[in-house]
């Protein structure tokens, strides 16, 4: 998203990404600068136009001189930083994170409505994830098909909370929220009532469009039929910003 004219007191800083020099406003995050410059950093919870969540940890990058990895979506650039986005260590961690996501709930791509249009599946392929080394949990999660237009399949949910944030921050309905801990954690609608019984949902479909996986889909879609369109989001947020 083209950033509106900077307030006068925001400095421009210079730093390196993967050995090349860049400069940007100091209030920009590493992932924003990377996206503007075509440097691929994987992400699942980050979505341009929504607030930062920093939960999936796929966007971890290395900083020279620091043993700690930082989330590129939740870290601002600073003068003199040397950022590395694709080291063998990062590749190893990213692969492991993806494997854990596949093992935690139930992803059966061959019969999934989002087969071929899924961010998780695409990242797995991009990072050479051709098998999962940890045991699959094989615990069944609920499917709520009570909404007349949409369906939530918790088996495919990776808890990125994009749905929660878009519904709250963009649609203003705040139908979604998060409940429970650990493997019981899940997204809920209206105080954990069936989605179809929700008083707040406007049926706008924004949550479905931003969901990176086959967890939120349109009713009546069959294997591979669910495609998503994220373009509305930067458009809406830019228009609001400009007001």
């Amino acid at each position: 998203m083209p950033i509106p004219a900077p307030p006068t007191n925001v400095r421009v800083v210079t730093f390196q990404i993967d050995g090349r020099d860049y400069s940007a406003r100091e209030d920009e995050t590493i992932i924003e600068v990377a996206r503007e410059n075509g440097i691929p950093i994987p992400s699942l919870c980050y979505l341009e136009g929504l607030s930062t969540w920093g939960a999936c940890r796929l966007c971890l990058v290395e900083l020279a001189g620091s043993p700690r990895l930082v989330a590129a979506c939740a870290t601002q650039v600073a003068e003199g930083l040397q950022i590395y986005t694709d080291t063998p260590r990062l590749q190893r961690y990213r692969r492991t994170i993806l494997e854990l996501l596949f093992a935690e709930r139930n992803h059966v791509c061959s019969v999934c409505v989002s087969n071929g249009h899924c961010e998780l599946q695409a990242l797995a392929q991009r990072y050479g994830l051709d098998h999962v080394r940890v045991p699959y949990r094989h615990v069944a999660y609920e499917v709520d098909a009570s909404h007349e237009m949409f369906r939530v399949d918790h088996n495919r949910c990776i808890l990125c909370t994009r749905c929660v944030r878009v519904c709250d921050e963009v649609e203003g309905a705040h139908t979604w929220d998060v409940m429970g801990r650990g493997s019981d954690c899940r997204v809920i609608t209206d105080m954990n009532r069936p989605w179809g019984a929700s008083d707040t949902c406007t049926s706008c479909g924004k949550c479905v469009q931003v969901c990176p996986t086959g967890a939120l889909v349109k009713q009546g879609t069959s294997v591979g039929e669910m495609t998503k369109d994220l373009h509305f989001l930067p458009y809406i947020t830019r228009r609001r910003h400009n007001r």
Partner: protein, 184 residues
């Protein structure tokens, strides 16, 4: 294709399907006329596609389709591992458990009841002979034996199989993710 080992230089390949639908083997057959070219370089020493009934002691490349769902699947995977220099998991069922593993959400007794009693109208009975016992949990092949190469896909395309075998025969290590993915 099961020509006797006249040419000792040929790569010896064995294949089997465990709990799969045979789709991965069909995809292999989709190589069509390229099978003739392949037959110049490899010899299929054991497979549902040829007549041989026993797995030879020494095999260069073993290819398994399907998940491990019953005791026979497990024994065969172990035998393949012992006798094959390289073992390949072909297709999502072998690689992830895929559709066969969907039954893991239910108790085994309920699954058997559903298949052999609830849905049968005439003389429902449980099989006791000639059918290997189902295991409680369906697992991918590599959860039981070490696997050297994984080819995801449901099924992996003939193109993918052609590429992977070609790379192996040329002595290189293929990267299946360049061509295929889970659910491809």
């Amino acid at each position: 294709m099961s020509a006797p080992a006249k040419n000792p230089a040929k790569i010896r390949v064995a294949t089997a399907w465990l709990d799969g639908c045979s789709g991965c083997h069909m995809s292999f057959l989709d190589l069509d006329e390229r099978l003739i070219e392949l037959a110049r370089q490899i010899e299929i020493v054991y497979s549902p596609l040829v007549d041989t009934k026993t797995l030879p002691e020494q095999v260069d490349i073993g290819i398994l389709e399907g998940a491990i769902s019953n005791e026979d699947d497990l024994a065969r995977a172990q035998e393949f591992r012992r006798r094959c220099k390289r073992l390949i998991s072909l297709g999502d069922c072998a690689v992830t458990g895929n559709v066969p593993a969907l039954r893991n959400h239910f108790k085994l007794a309920d699954v058997i009841d559903r298949a052999y009693r609830e849905t049968v109208t005439l003389h429902p009975q449980l099989p006791t002979r000639d059918v290997p016992a189902l295991r409680e949990t369906v697992i991918p092949v590599h959860a039981a034996v070490a696997v050297d190469l994984f080819i995801p896909g449901c099924p992996p395309s003939a193109e993918t199989i052609w590429h992977v075998l070609g790379e192996l025969l040329a002595g290189r290590t293929p990267r299946p993710s360049d061509l295929t993915r889970f659910g491809a």
